[in-house]
Symmetry: C2
Subunit: 454 residues, 2 copies
């Protein structure tokens, strides 16, 4: 039976089955019917002890691909749980570029032994890709591009493809086009397979090649590569060195992984978590990781507490201040967070730059004034009625308006500033923003109250 | 010159140039050198008035594709800024499936006129796709699959492809494989073009077709389609009706758009914003949209205020309570948010289900106890020293521990519960969680203080 991908409901049933009854009875299903990526998903969804149990029952042949599919912490666990011999057998089924992805997590002695037994082609691929950072075009590429010269006829191109297949027994994955290069090995364009088979056989490659496929410099950041693929609807694209010579090609499956990682990163980093965080990591390790983030926020909370403490005499006289001060701070935080999300998205998509930042800031400040005044009036009336104190309502309204203006400015400025100094705005933006809106909110409200109400 | 995709830095320069000197001097560059998707990015990055100015100078030929590339609010603005004749000319260059994507935003009279002049093939495509929801396989598919029978030889397959190209003048986009179907039009597998050109010409399609390519039911949710493409590294896949018959095919470029949208959705929705939000939307419309989210959070803030008000007599006696109460609430919020992010990611990737939820909950509660006790001890000591009050420190520690346990439970339970009742956990999770940790935090700390310190 073919290894079909699981539907979401089948996945749930299998997960439940393994959790309740263990892997033993399901080993057959696992190895014969599941795609390695589904096994990878299952492994990530299982608690650690069940994970090791399942891993032991997976066929060696599938283990290599599973290792490339699972994320950071889970991968480390699986590698730790495997003997060197088991790892070497698993790695034997992988391409050079896949090995380069695993490199960081593999034990040194396994890498050494693997290099000894590797054939020269795989080794070259492995070592070339490993020489570029993971998050650049070089780290994403394969070195399996098929090249032809511009003056080749389509008939010859097809013959070359047939010969390559006979020679290697297979063709590169996601093979949708051959690269047309000049005598210096610089890409001139891409000849699509669809064009090669459907145009007259005596046509020259240069006449039908697509010259819009961009040559991607090898050190281009991965997120820019992803945007190129997105914008130009590419399936594969050539990667070149600084002389413009072809080094390899990037295929769309690797780009999808980049976009998915960015997506998970955006979700996780605003809570101070790594995108590779294992749901079932060892509890003490998780506790330590989370503690770092909690302590950053604790600093925030204590700064706010110190601010409040400065005004304890005022609070003792008008206890309503204690009741209302969290409202001023939290409305600022929420409003600022909206601006922050908008600007962070813009930075991630390269749509917010210093060129249009001023326009954006002015607009957000305008919004801050509108929403600030609106809520100031609404809540001030509520406050006046609740505490029968018109002046308290007025102070509240003024503090709220100014804090929402501050939030708009900080929501725009903080992520731009963080981005400029090389700190990820998705990670640190929220903490810095909250510190600002808390301190300004508490200071303004309690300070104005002390000045005008006592 | 070919239309190359822009590098990020070139994009910035062009944006700056247009902001400072207007579009007029750059119209030539725009139309001759820029890819429509780059123009779409430029339009999104421009304030509204500059946007209309640029739009007027874009060639009609590119306007159709640009409309498919820009997002919700911006698209509406551009459509409003165009005359009916201009729109009809722009739409003429689009495929039926692209028109179906634009459908919702187009004026009724333009749609009517467009349908009258449309050829029957495009019209069928347009009306077929429009009959399925946007966020299902049916909404994503094209109906341009090329089909063959299993007993066709590769030689015949290639001849058929050549004939189709002569007939239509072109082949489908992302044409990497032909679908092999049985006599009922049910897909049996996919014959890759790479295999068709490289295997002996007299081979039967059935002998080399890939049977692992899944047939996707037409109502499969878009996010499940994306996961299939990701897991199986697909470039295209067949879509079938409930009888298993081929309706069309989905290509990887549409899947990338789905994943990107999910990514932006995750980032924006935690701030209560739509993923289509225009950075430069009309200010009053934005103010209204944000006000809805602010009011949801205002309810939270006022519930917390009411809780604090219950204990105003205690605060008046021990003003340190007012100083410390935000610390208890915010530490709970931050810890809960970490659990929430982890569980929301798991739900989005289909890795958290009722099957493993119990394991996850127990683990998060364990983490809550460890981190709760640790911080309780640390901060309690700080509190004892700061306020020279051992009992206050003790009350603080107990309240903090219980609130962090609550946060762990709510961080796990809230997103699962929201997901089960069909509410997006990425959107509402944070608000609900914050309400819980605020109320529990304030009630516990102030309540315990009232019981034991007065």
């Amino acid at each position: 039976m073919a290894k079909k991908a699981l539907q979401a409901t089948d996945f749930q049933h299998l997960l439940e089955e393994i959790l309740n009854n263990g892997t033993a009875g399901n080993a057959h299903v696992l190895n014969e019917q599941l795609h390695p990526s589904d096994i990878a998903d299952l492994l990530e969804a299982l608690p650690r002890e069940k994970r090791a149990e399942l891993w032991d029952r997976v066929d060696n042949a599938g283990q290599g691909e599973i290792l490339t599919e699972v994320h950071g912490d889970v991968r480390s666990q699986l590698i730790e749980a495997s003997s060197d011999a088991q790892l070497l057998a698993a790695l034997a089924s992988l391409q050079g570029d896949e090995l380069a992805d695993l490199h960081e997590d593999l034990p040194q002695n396994v890498i050494k032994e693997m290099l000894v037994t590797m054939d020269s082609g795989r080794r070259l691929c492995y070592e070339t890709i490993r020489s570029y950072p993971d998050d650049t075009a070089g780290g994403l590429m394969d070195i399996d591009a098929i090249t032809i010269r511009a003056e080749t006829t389509l008939e010859l191109v097809l013959r070359k493809i047939r010969e390559l297949r006979e020679l290697n027994g297979s063709l590169p994955e996601h093979f949708d086009s051959v690269m047309v290069v000049d005598s210096n090995d610089c890409p001139l364009g891409a000849l699509r397979l669809a064009d090669a088979v459907s145009m007259p056989p005596n046509t020259l490659a240069s006449a039908v090649m697509d010259v819009d496929v961009p040559a991607i410099p090898v050190l281009t950041p991965a997120n820019e590569v992803a945007q190129l693929f997105e914008n130009l609807d590419l399936v594969s694209a050539p990667v070149v060195n600084d002389k413009g010579q072809l080094l390899g090609r990037i295929t769309v499956d690797d780009v999808i992984d980049v976009i998915r990682e960015q997506s998970v990163h955006a979700m996780m980093s605003q809570a101070g978590l790594d995108e590779d965080t294992d749901m079932f990591a060892p509890i003490w390790r998780s506790a330590l990781q989370r503690t770092l983030w909690l302590s950053a926020n604790l600093v925030n909370a204590f700064i706010a507490a110190f601010v409040i403490d400065r005004f304890s005499a005022s609070i003792q006289q008008i206890v309503a201040l204690a009741v209302l001060m969290p409202v001023v701070a939290s409305m600022g935080g929420v409003a600022g967070n909206q601006t922050l999300a908008l600007v962070t998205r813009g930075i991630a998509l390269n749509q917010v730059t210093s060129a249009n930042a001023r326009h954006l800031l002015l607009r957000e400040l305008g919004l801050g004034i509108i929403n600030g005044l609106f809520w100031a009036v609404v809540i001030a009336i509520v406050v006046m009625l609740w505490f029968s104190n018109a002046q308290l309502g007025l102070v509240f309204g003024v503090a709220l308006t100014i804090n929402m203006l501050t939030a708009a400015g900080a929501g725009t400025g903080v992520p731009l500033l963080l981005d400029r100094v090389g700190v990820d705005p998705a990670l640190a933006g929220g903490v810095v923003l909250m510190a600002i809106t808390d301190v300004v909110g508490f200071t303004l409200f309690l300070g104005l109250a002390t000045l005008f109400l006592l």
